[in-house]
């Protein structure tokens, strides 16, 4: 995710980095400014969470190293909303780490290194104790952090452990510490409270680490991104095409929510291009499902089809390609619903082009 790159902000940063006399107050300002620009939109101004997870939890900060935070910022979490901030240099990234660290006066207290575990035993333990929140394959919980559809009293969405960004950032010792100590303020309980032994914990660590092998296999997600737009050409007139679309939407038991000209509101009323019409449609359930998975999806909701007659008389219908949503929003949880949406769009466009 790219956060604003206001030249004014950059100038301030450059000033603090290279010109201003050294001093802890200046350094702290620079650190908080970098956090504000790059992180606060998702994690909140004070790290209390939002679309992103809360960072200011004492248990979290006590169980992760600076190196973990650095690598998390650098690599992000592919498919889990958190982008890779590769445009930040090392110094900027460390400055953000220091700012995050300033929220806790306590020191990092990692548990001792464990013994080698048995990943097969770990798989069984994980299935019984961890999968309910982290998913059967450790992909993490669905949805984002607190936002307008998930309020502050809801538990934190369980992070994805079967994620290359997480696996690159988290050492075995960090995973072990989290399992042993749990995380207050989240549903994550200490292992002992779940009846797990130290050896059980080592087995689970070993299982989580084994995800790396699975991720190294080629997957569909490494394919070329889908085309951004779905396009159909209609052999009917503009008016007939509009009517056919409306009928196709109704037959799918979806609701036509509104329709307007593409340049509606941009030009004076009555002067719109009447050959460029936008039809919004969908179902309440579908809209709310998508917003719950990712509130940023409102950029493309309700669904919309654009019908237009070109200068040569050709009638075209266009729509966003939902298969592109996962990549646009860095959110793999959108993929299932996006595929469903793709089928709906494709079916309507097929009917129009027949």
């Amino acid at each position: 995710m790219q956060i604003n790159r206001n030249p004014l902000h950059l100038s301030i940063l450059i000033f603090f980095l290279f010109v201003a006399p050294g001093g802890s107050a200046n350094a702290a300002t620079e650190e908080s400014e970098l956090f504000a620009i790059n992180c606060a939109a998702c994690h909140g101004d004070n790290g209390d969470g939002g679309i992103g997870i809360p960072l200011a939890l004492p248990d979290f900060l006590a169980s992760v190293t600076d190196d973990y935070l650095f690598k998390t910022i650098r690599h992000g979490r592919p498919g889990r909303i958190m982008p890779a901030f590769q445009h930040l240099d090392d110094e900027q990234t460390w400055a953000i780490v220091r700012h995050i660290r300033s929220w806790s006066s306590g020191k990092v207290k990692l548990s001792p290194e464990g013994a080698p575990g048995d990943p097969e035993k770990g798989r069984e333990i994980f299935a019984r104790y961890c999968a309910r929140c982290h998913g059967p394959l450790g992909k993490g919980g669905a949805g984002t952090g607190i936002n307008f559809t998930r309020l502050h009293d809801h538990p934190v969405v369980a992070p994805g452990l079967n994620n290359p960004g997480f696996l690159a950032a988290a050492s075995d010792q960090i995973i072990r510490t989290t399992l042993l100590k749990g995380r207050r303020g989240t549903p994550m309980l200490p292992a002992a409270k779940m009846g797990l032994s130290s050896q059980d914990v080592d087995d689970v660590v070993s299982y989580i680490r084994s995800f790396e092998k699975e991720l190294q296999r080629p997957t569909k997600t490494a394919m070329v991104p889908a085309k951004p737009t779905l396009i159909a050409t209609s052999t009917d007139s503009f008016a007939e095409t509009v009517e056919n679309i409306r009928q196709a939407i109704s037959e799918k038991r979806l609701r036509i929510i509104r329709q307007h000209y593409l340049d509606d509101g941009l030009v004076a009323q009555g002067e719109e291009n009447k050959k460029q019409l936008v039809i919004h449609f969908g179902s309440i359930q579908q809209i709310n499902t998508l917003l719950t998975i990712d509130p940023r999806m409102g950029l493309f909701l309700p669904n919309r089809l654009t019908v237009m007659e070109q200068d040569d008389g050709k009638v075209m219908v266009t729509a966003v390609n939902p298969l592109r949503f996962g990549a646009l929003f860095n959110n793999a949880n959108l993929e299932h619903t996006s595929r469903e949406l793709y089928k709906i769009y494709s079916a309507i466009l097929e009917e129009v082009s027949e």
């Binding site: 992000g76 936002n147 960004g165 991720l215 190294q216 396009i231 409102g298 654009t306």
Partner: protein
């Protein structure tokens, strides 16, 4: 103490690069405004106009969210643009029409408001650079300016105390 095998780091790095490419999120620009949604929405419309764009529509997004048991339905999408630019691009590149006019989704998160949009440079990528980047670069710059101003706006409480 265990030592990390250097090959493991290399493999993880390659893996990250492979997986991150199709899922990178550089397509979005997002900021937090320290205003409740109604005030932020008014500010946004004003800021868009000051930047030389016309606000075309403000649409409700989350129809029926209250009916689903949620306690907030504060979500809007603000559409805006310049008529001549939208007309030119929509005629020349029909594949861009689903993304036009420009839009910013704006939704409440507690007492603050989040604003998110697609980076217009993404649209240039969609066209595989067939159109000169000029217009998209300008849109990107203008949108960053709009969102920067929104992020810098003080909240109501700060405004009130600042006035005393």
């Amino acid at each position: 103490m265990k030592t990390e095998h250097p090959l493991r780091s290399i493999l993880l790095f390659i893996l990250l690069m492979l997986t991150a490419l199709p899922l990178q999120a550089d397509h979005l620009i997002m900021v937090r405004a320290h205003q409740p949604l109604p005030a932020a929405l008014d500010s946004l419309k004003q800021t868009i106009q000051q930047q030389g764009y016309t606000v075309a529509r403000v649409d409700m997004v989350n129809i029926g969210l209250l009916g689903m048991g949620y306690t907030s339905n504060k979500y809007r999408a603000v559409f805006f643009g310049k008529a001549d630019e939208i007309e030119k691009l929509s005629r020349k590149y029909p594949q861009l029409t689903p993304y036009l006019p420009l839009r910013i989704a704006i939704f409440a998160e507690g007492d603050s408001t989040l604003l998110v949009t697609i980076n217009p440079s993404t649209y240039h990528e969609f066209l595989a650079a067939r159109e000169p980047a000029e217009i998209f670069n300008r849109w990107e710059k203008d949108i960053e300016q709009i969102l920067s101003l929104m992020a810098e706006r003080p909240g109501q409480a700060q405004q009130a105390s600042g006035g005393k």
